[in-house]
Amino acid sequence: MSALLNRILALPANDSPVPELVRRRAQAVLERVGLPGRGNESWKYTALAALEDIVVPPRPAPEAAEALLAAAVATHLAGQIPDHRLVICHGVYCPWLSRLPPGVRFEDGSGDIARPDTVAEDPAEAIVWLALAGATVAWRLNVTAPAEIHLLHLGDTPANSLGRIELAAGVACTLVEHHLLAGGGLANHFHTVSLAAGSRLEHLRLAPARPAGIALQRTAVEVGAGAFYRLHSVTGGARPARHEVRIALAGEGAGCALHAAAVPVAAHADEDWSIVHRAPCTAGSQTFRAVAGRRGRAACSARSVIPENITGGDARQSLHGLLLDAAGEVQLRPVLDIENDEVSASHGAGVGQLDTDAIYYLQSRGFPADEARRLLIGALLDQALARDLPDHLKSLWRTALDGSAPFLGEGS
């Protein structure tokens, strides 16, 4: 076992809701399959070595949570405090700042963790479980009525959490995750989502840059018959930032659409997506746009799997990156793993630089060079924004993007 794994295992579990049993299972998985390294395509661009710096300092008291919430609202939410919210500060749930609407029930999620099937034979998942040492919150939301809920992660790192959201049949819900953590520590979140038949979840994940920190997240979604899951993600990157999305289209007619914009500057943003079609007539799309410069690195591994026995599947991938300078890097890895002929599938991927002809054309119409560059970069990133998203959510998406992309408009 590597020194790195020993380092992870040495993390204090103190008051973590992750039981020792689960940690031991995760350890056993890693001992069997090993830590994923550069030879593993999925982890090729995630520098696990950063985990060697993990420290778990004493947790600050959450009394400053009100001030942190006020600052977050002013900076990231256009001054509007969300009506319905779940506030987690310094990794601690703050019930006095949280408010949920009728039809949404908050529960302690610790019970989910102790299930015997916890921890799959998957090194990525095992790492997430192990690194959850120090997590202090395990939450579960049961949603039985339409709602828009904002999940605010505030305060310092480490701040790890386990979350589960369950939508009842036919319910439409919006979940907006705000990752507004500070500090150079680890933020590690493991969220599972269950969508019952005919339900729909719009999921915004807004993670501005935290270049000194380590950000890991795994979002696992099971989509029932006729249900739909849509992710809209903005990430500014960290050292590294990795978001794994695992979708199971489990019921007939289930669908999902993953949209992400990554803008790492002197940071790393890694998206690792998988959509598995487990039922007939299921549809999944993956759209990724990245702009990288100044030693920023973005990577997206997008996989769609349609097994031989699944008919009527539809899989689409569109991955594109823009390099702002010679020190930026964008790595794209689209994979269509399709074993059935009765499906529709398409994919496109490419990495390029700003079109100098387009910049000149815009300048010839009066746009200053910086404005022209900003317009072109914004146009590329906007392709990751769903047109039919409500305006207030689009506004949040753009605010997160602007806050993460200080290079927009600067000369290259």
Partner: protein, 266 residues
């Protein structure tokens, strides 16, 4: 000639002894040209004569090296200005091959261009409602499908639609000097007349045009004050419409042999 043309004595554009190269080849080789406010100048010439390079040099395209000569625009050193500064001072180039810009809405682009120029001139930005009214009216006059206003800039446009979109921008940006680089290419006869009508509607005693073309048919509708024939990177002949007729009948064989070739080797 328009009614007020020639009443002002200072040239809007004065090019003297201009020599320029691109990619190691000399393209312009001692070009002289004076355009007064309100005048329409047609520039013709064989392929490779340097016509489009002249247009792009005036608009400020990167990659064209000035080796000698000067260009004064309204008395100012044009070559010292960035492309956007030239645009803000009223210089407009209708591209022969307009650039597609995925992800940028056409009407947003045109309004952004107009406001960028207003800001550069210290003027107030245009009101969104007033702009949309003007935009729709101009598009209608040019016979342009309103749906193109909401599409991405030139993306998926036909050749003719791109040219109309250039003229639409010309209408809304109201430049002082408009250079039309083969705006007639790719247009059918009806579209050509519509575009020509649109250009003629902008002619006044102040606004000048340089119309780069290969064909008489555009100049039947946009009647120039002066016709120039470019060859070998310079103006080889200047005159009136008789030059256009001669080119239609004889091609360029009558030009001095030294000037019939394409660009001058650098």
């Amino acid at each position: 000639m328009t009614m007020n043309a020639g009443t002002e004595t200072m040239p809007l554009l004065a090019i003297g002894g201009l020599r320029a190269s691109a990619g190691g080849r000399t393209i312009l080789n001692g070009l002289d040209l004076v355009v007064m406010p309100g005048e329409v100048h047609a520039v013709m010439g064989p392929n490779g004569a340097g016509k489009s390079t002249l247009g792009h040099l005036l608009a400020g395209r990167p990659g064209i090296a000035i080796e000698a000569g000067e260009v004064r625009y309204d008395g100012e050193d044009l070559l010292a200005l960035a492309p956007e500064e030239r645009a803000a001072r009223g210089l407009f180039l209708a591209f022969q091959y307009p650039v597609e810009i995925p992800g940028v809405n056409n009407s947003y682009f045109i309004r952004g261009a107009l406001n960028a120029q207003h800001r550069a001139r210290g003027e107030e930005e245009i009101d969104a409602v007033a702009f949309m009214r003007r935009l729709r009216q101009a598009a209608d006059e040019l016979g342009m499908d309103a749906a193109l206003l909401q599409r991405n800039v030139n993306e998926g446009f036909s050749g003719g639609e791109k040219k109309r979109n250039e003229v639409l921008q010309l209408h809304l940006l109201e430049p002082r000097l408009a250079i039309l680089d083969e705006t007639d290419s790719g247009l059918d006869i009806d579209a050509l007349r519509t575009v020509a009508r649109g250009v003629n509607g902008l002619r006044n005693g102040c606004r000048a045009f340089i119309v780069i073309t290969h064909y008489q048919r555009l100049l039947d509708d946009i009647v120039p004050d002066r016709v120039h024939v470019m060859a070998g990177g310079r103006i080889a002949a200047s005159g009136g419409l008789e030059l256009v007729r001669r080119i239609e009948e004889e091609g360029y064989a009558w030009l001095p042999a030294a000037e019939q070739g394409e660009a001058v080797a650098g």
